[in-house]
């Protein structure tokens, strides 16, 4: 089980801020493929991965990173703080 978090327009498009996901995905990209296959709203949110960022256990990471041992995955658009 893994916690998956969504922020900003990713959260709005998918329609929830957080969910627990049962997955055997070995990389972030695999998880994205699994989620996208679920429903149109996921497919829409993940349509252009170059427009997204991912954090694993609250550290910025990349889509080809392995998920082994990861407890929290977050997807969001490029940050606009400051």
């Amino acid at each position: 089980m893994i916690d998956v978090l969504y922020f900003a327009w990713v959260r709005e498009r998918i329609g929830l801020p957080k969910e627990r996901v049962e997955t055997s995905a070995s990389t972030v990209a695999d998880l994205v493929a699994e989620l996208s296959a679920r429903e149109e709203r996921y497919a829409a949110a993940f349509a252009d991965i170059s427009a997204l960022r991912v954090a694993l256990d609250q550290e910025l990471s990349s889509f080809d990173a392995p998920l082994a041992g990861v407890r929290e995955v977050a997807f969001f658009p490029p940050m606009t703080g400051g």
Binding site: F7, L60, G81, G82
Partner: protein, 148 residues
């Protein structure tokens, strides 16, 4: 070193006074304040979403890197989240150093990294709808100059 992530407004002047008081021994103090601006008088508010937990650790990491790179006696970051009114301060950075070049460089470094590496997302709320602020290429480009 002080990092605050809060929904409450803050007073940049009062923060600078407090920061100056603890930044003893520094000859040079630089501050940056970001304010909600409304260039075309169409904004009614700004909403800032963040990623609790990661926000604090990401900022702490950026501040630690600034301390490694420059001679700083003090550094401070305040960043708000939630709903902000036009003309309210969004965030503030302050640095103190014996050398003005260090204080300036560290403050710019903190700003550049907070813009693109701390998990905040801005949404502009206008009478005709709301829209997420898009990240700018120039903000990503700004990071390049800090590469060793």
């Amino acid at each position: 070193m002080s990092v605050r992530v809060q929904p409450e407004p803050f007073d940049a002047g009062a923060e600078l006074t407090a920061f100056s008081a603890i930044a003893s021994g520094a000859g040079a103090i630089v501050s940056f304040t970001g304010v909600v601006r409304d260039t075309e008088a169409r904004l009614s508010a700004m909403e800032i979403e963040h990623y609790p937990g990661m926000t604090e650790s990401a900022i702490a990491k950026i501040v630690a890197e600034a301390r490694d790179r420059w001679s700083l006696t003090e550094a401070m970051v305040i960043h708000r989240h939630g709903r902000l009114a036009v003309a309210e301060p969004i965030m503030m950075v302050a640095t103190a150093s014996p050398h003005r070049a260090d204080a300036f460089a560290a403050a710019e470094f903190l700003m550049d990294y907070l813009k693109s590496r701390a998990p905040f997302w801005k949404k502009e709320i206008a009478a005709d709808g709301a829209s997420w602020v898009a990240a700018k290429d120039e903000d990503e480009d700004a990071l390049a100059r800090w590469q060793p």
